[in-house]
Symmetry: C2
Subunit: 401 residues, 2 copies
């Protein structure tokens, strides 16, 4: 159908309201996905549709076999970087989880996962026809996953179904509190029960060091747009060689009349995955990512500094593990909530006060608690953000130590 | 693991060997995915990771609900443009097919599809646990799908299994010959049997007019990077309202301890899909795409012109339907093959002769037959390409009428 041109006006000159250049963005899911300079150049170079496919090898016709741009090499280096044997780039971390669940389980099987797992872990399990058994999470203020309970949950599945779960999944760093879980504990339990161990590193790999071998992960999933300075959509699926035949099983379907078959194609990947610009941003940022994970300690220092400064406001409290070991921070901010109750802009006052100071990324309307992420901010920016919060607190008469 | 910096050198300064500016690229899958100027601007603006999510509505937290950038409006306009009721952007056309198969069928069900369907249609069926029954394709030189045979194939499935197929799929324009199938014929048959009709428009929607209502399609799948001047990976899933509850079914899984549930999330999409730059290229190109499909006739004229010129070389023959109704063209080029047999560069001579003339996109090594696509080339470029082939023919002593 013909769409009238005037209705199309809104699609012209699309702009983001704030950019890295003129704002400090604290959005909890966005800090690790800000493009590197190299990635920005790559996205311009490889913007066109199938830009990666100029040199697709005709025989295999597979993205992971392309040598120019160096996709094949990248997949090998990516696996090594994560302490794994093999890697594929897929369309999202959630797709990586779906692929693992789909290929490791049969409908009705269980996945044991932590109660702080991202919603996409649950949905990936549902789409694969699996059920979930949750590992309990401790109470406030730390909300720590009871890692040792993985053993009891595996036992529970065994009792209930007569067989082991299809996999256990641990969220390395959770989206809610930014707690860093000790993956080795779960790796050891999974190993003892011989259940495949999936470590979801959406918030860890790409910003902090992750060694899949050390923690005995069988599968690592990651998110390029969340933590690897890459454009969305990009997911990472890294695995042990021992799972290659299962996870990367080739297609076996055959045409009944034509006898066509597609035995080179990896079934659960649906053949090729990210055949364009986002993959190239991931590759272009890789050298910078390899370097930046080594500077993780300093990123954590910045997060701790911000926590210290904000907690000078009487009643403001960082929740989740203490001291912070990650840059995703969850604050309880009761005093700001009290201000909002008598403010004419209600809960929006805090967002607007910050916005005036060119600070964005705190969810508009929230004052009782909110999350932010300091990853990749300079020390000056972190100090500027701290100062802004303290200023706002003082402006509204809150007590500052 | 730490990767030595010298091994990372190859990931710096990634470049495509040829660009639209300095080469004529005839790559059959690439012509419709060349970015519009507006899309190139959008990709720079929205390069960073989760760039679409600045204004994610907290309550639904769904990509399709975002109003800034105008994703929600775009999905509505996209559906209308295709003559459908609802649309979603997913990560690839193959994922759109997988979603349709997964949600319409049960394991063991059949899909009836044309024998010229893309490999990804077969694999999507396999991943969804479905089997395929192929509709026969006629012999050379036209290789036309026997559209009326869909009825017999549905009957065959009924006899064999006692129930109807989960869906029928027709490849609107096939990847091999660029034949345009009359979708109305299959729409009518599917309607008569009350079997959902999936029209795969990877090579049609976005370059030529497609009206899902007129052809009675229940689902339309499309490819942004193939035909909508968008970056990969972008797929389109458009559907009738009557299938909304099936295809876009919400997640129902629930945590056993936490009781967490995710009832706003669309299960088979795994929640959000393309949350970054490629989606914005698709949106930014949309006004240009709405215009360009109206100029399809002229694109076909260019294709026919090229066929006429190349067939002046004695022995060169366009195969597939005649006259061409699409810009994807398959040539049998026996005379070039004869040249290759005594040429020191063997089959590569043709690629290299073209490359010298800044023409790329014909698969290196092929001389017996090859595919190319003229979509979006200017008349001057089409004449230049014709002239180049005629020159090469004459250089090697082939007979030119």
């Amino acid at each position: 159908m013909r769409i009238p041109q005037e209705r199309l006006e809104k699609y012209r000159n699309l702009k983001r309201e704030f950019s890295e250049e003129d704002h400090v963005n604290l959005q909890p899911i966005q800090r690790g996905g800000v493009l590197s300079e190299e990635a920005m150049r790559a996205i311009i170079e490889f913007g066109d549709g199938y830009s990666t496919c100029d040199w697709c090898p005709p025989k295999s016709a597979r993205l992971d076999m392309i040598e120019n741009p160096p996709i094949k090499d990248f997949y090998n280096d990516l696996a090594e970087f994560l302490g794994m044997d093999l890697a594929r780039v897929v369309t999202r971390c959630r797709e990586a989880k779906f692929i693992a669940f789909r290929m490791l389980g049969a409908p009705g099987d269980y996945v044991v996962l932590d109660g702080l797992a991202h919603y996409s872990s649950y949905i990936a399990a549902e789409l694969a026809g699996l059920r979930v058994k949750e590992v309990p999470v401790g109470g406030p203020p730390e909300h720590k996953v009871d890692l040792n309970a993985y053993a009891a949950k595996i036992e529970e599945v065994k009792r209930e179904t007569g067989r082991l779960p299809a996999a256990v999944l641990l969220t390395h760093v959770d989206y809610q509190y930014g707690n860093v879980n000790d993956a080795e504990v779960v790796g050891k339990i999974a190993q003892d029960y011989e259940v495949p161990f999936i470590l979801n590193c959406a918030y860890s790999a790409g910003v902090m060091p992750v060694d899949g071998k050390k923690v005995q992960a069988d599968v690592i999933t990651g998110s390029g747009h969340k933590s690897w300075a890459a454009s969305a959509p990009t997911g990472i699926l890294a695995l042990r060689k021992s799972l290659e035949e299962k996870l990367l099983r080739r297609a076996s379907i055959q045409g009944d009349l034509t006898s066509r078959s597609f035995v080179s194609k990896e079934l659960a990947l649906l053949g090729c995955t990210v055949m364009g610009a986002p993959l190239l941003t991931l590759i272009a940022s890789f050298p910078a990512v390899v370097e930046r994970v080594e500077k993780w300690d300093e990123e954590v220092q910045k997060a701790r500094f911000l926590v210290g400064e904000l907690e000078r406001i009487q009643g403001v409290k960082q929740i989740g593990e203490r001291p912070k070991r990650h840059t995703l921070i969850h604050f309880e901010t009761e005093p700001f909530f009290k201000v909002s109750q008598s403010h004419k802009r209600k809960g929006y006052f805090l967002y607007e006060e910050l916005r005036t100071r060119k600070i964005v990324g705190i969810q508009p309307g929230l004052t009782k608690h909110f999350k932010l992420n300091t990853y990749g901010l300079t020390w000056n920016q972190v100090r500027y953000v701290s100062q802004a919060f303290l200023e706002i607190a003082e402006k509204y008469g809150l007590e500052v130590k």
